[in-house]
């Protein structure tokens, strides 16, 4: 889980144009100022980093970075 968190945060940092303080509670759209397409683009990067598929309906449930880490961890475990 900790490894997953590190990698998700890393991908997120490299996708953001401006450095923002990130935590598990950071809201992905409001906290990062990402629009719906930017969020989906970021998810594509995560899919590649972990070599998994994250269906869009799973993204709908994701509000915070912590949620995303948990989703990735869950999907990675199944692959």
């Amino acid at each position: 889980m900790e490894q997953t968190r590190e990698l998700v945060f890393g991908v997120l940092r490299s996708s953001l144009q401006n450095p923002i303080e990130l935590s598990d509670d950071t809201n992905i759209t409001e906290g990062l100022g990402l629009d719906s397409v930017a969020v989906m683009d970021f998810v594509m990067e995560i899919e590649d980093a972990f070599d998994i598929s994250i269906p869009l309906d799973r993204i709908a449930e994701v509000k915070t970075i912590g949620d995303l880490v948990a989703t990735v961890h869950d999907l990675k475990g199944k692959s």
Binding site: M40, M44, D48, I52, S53, P55, L56, D57
Partner: protein, 413 residues
């Protein structure tokens, strides 16, 4: 908290556009006089943003067919085909579309948006997978949600990325349906269909191509990018619209798939919508006949597109595609795009502003669409306004002579 308070941030943006007196999302023409001209107040406006690719909206035969049908059959069908019956015209148009594409089956929807909603939601259910090009139109995304399919995106126009994502899905249950477009509506670029077909075959997936902006535009017979690429046998479903090159409203899907007609009782956007009125069906039928009988329209369209595209490139604008009727110039930011757009309108030229999230890669675009009905003089008039405005805003060099660098679209993100 009031119900609509959640739109407060959007409202702020919208009101700031209204305050400028030129809101690109709230333009009203006082009169439209031809496929290429309208009137706002006392000003004549040259239309370069209406997707009226073949200019058939004012074709006398199309108008006559439409008027005749309204007089004979009335102005509306007052219900859905499922519950209230089909008119002869609905079935004739479906047969005409199937014949045009050389397919066994055709199905007509009440809008192009609903064609994607209706087909995608019916093809891919909860346990199936839709694999979408990342730059897909909103109707493709919405159709994907309506059917509760598992949705995966792949990088725009990237066959290797599609292949990689299908590999990840290889062990999962359910059918895999790939969705791409012919000409993309925002950038005006085209899909590498032959490469996509190879990937599709490799993984045993199905392929849907939306030819909304390429019907009547590409292909020796106007059958779109699928015809140009020579892959008609490998494309399982072609979706399209009547509201662009055919000058009407409505959408369709054609296919050779056995059992296709079951979709008529499975596709909710087909089942629960009023069918198209006779006047629209008759007008589209005649427009399709003209599209087939008058290849000169398509040649004129492409001549105009090349003239405009080359003109903008020579001026030094950054463009995102080869010469197609959709020509998008990259603006440095949304504010400049709005300013550019409003100055063009003040000068008598109507184009479109396209902004994220409707555009890919966060690009702010000034989008134009060329018509076969434009005269070379009108294209040159538009170019001269682009030159004047681009120089005034410092976006292009004072003297012309630059070239298109397609990679700049990527660099601009």
């Amino acid at each position: 908290m009031a119900l609509l308070d959640k739109y407060a941030p959007l409202l702020v943006q919208y009101e700031s556009l209204e305050a400028t007196g030129y809101n690109p999302f709230n333009v009203a023409f006082d009169d439209v006089v031809s496929p290429t001209e309208a009137v706002i107040g006392d000003r004549r406006i040259l239309l370069l943003g209406t997707n009226n690719y073949l200019g058939l909206t004012y074709d006398p035969a199309v108008i006559a067919a439409s008027v005749g049908a309204a007089q004979e059959l009335g102005v509306g069908t007052t219900g859905s085909r499922l519950a209230n019956g089909s008119y002869g015209g609905h079935r004739q148009l479906e047969r005409a579309l199937a014949d045009f594409y050389g397919r066994k089956h055709g199905m007509v929807f009440s809008t192009g948006y609903q064609a994607n909603l209706g087909i995608l939601s019916a093809l891919a259910g909860k346990d199936d997978h839709l694999i979408l090009d990342a730059d897909s139109h909103a109707s493709i995304y919405d159709g994907s949600r309506l059917g509760h399919a598992q949705v995966t995106r792949f990088r725009h126009n990237d066959p290797d990325d599609l292949d990689n994502r299908l590999r990840r899905l290889a062990g999962t249950a359910g059918d895999k349906v790939i969705v791409v477009e012919g000409i993309y509506s925002m950038l005006g670029d085209t899909a590498p269909l032959r490469e996509f077909v190879e990937v599709k075959r490799k993984w045993g997936a199905y392929l849907v191509v939306d030819e909304a902006h390429s019907l009547g535009v590409l292909g020796e017979n106007g059958r779109g990018l699928v015809e140009t690429a020579g892959v008609e046998a490998d494309v399982d479903f072609v979706v399209g619209t009547f509201s662009k090159s055919l000058g009407g409203v409505g959408g369709f899907c054609v296919s050779d798939m056995d059992g296709f007609d079951i979709l008529r009782v499975a596709s909710r956007p087909y089942m629960f919508t009023a069918s198209l009125p006779p006047s629209v069906i008759a007008g589209v039928m005649e427009a399709l006949r003209q599209l087939r009988a008058r290849p000169a329209l398509r040649h004129q369209l492409l001549d105009n597109a090349r003239r405009f595209h080359a003109g903008l490139a020579d001026l030094g604008f950054t463009l995102c595609s080869e010469a197609n009727p959709v020509v998008s110039a990259v603006m440095p930011d949304p504010k400049t795009a709005f300013t550019f757009w409003s100055r063009l309108l003040e000068g008598g030229l109507y184009t479109n502003v396209s902004l994220p999230p409707a555009t890919p890669k966060g690009l702010a675009l000034l989008r134009s669409s060329v018509s076969a009905a434009h005269t070379p003089a009108q294209i040159d008039q538009a170019l001269s306004l682009f030159a004047e405005t681009g120089r005034a805003l410092g976006l292009i060099p004072a003297a012309s002579g630059s070239t298109v660098v397609p990679d700049l679209c990527v660099a601009a993100q």
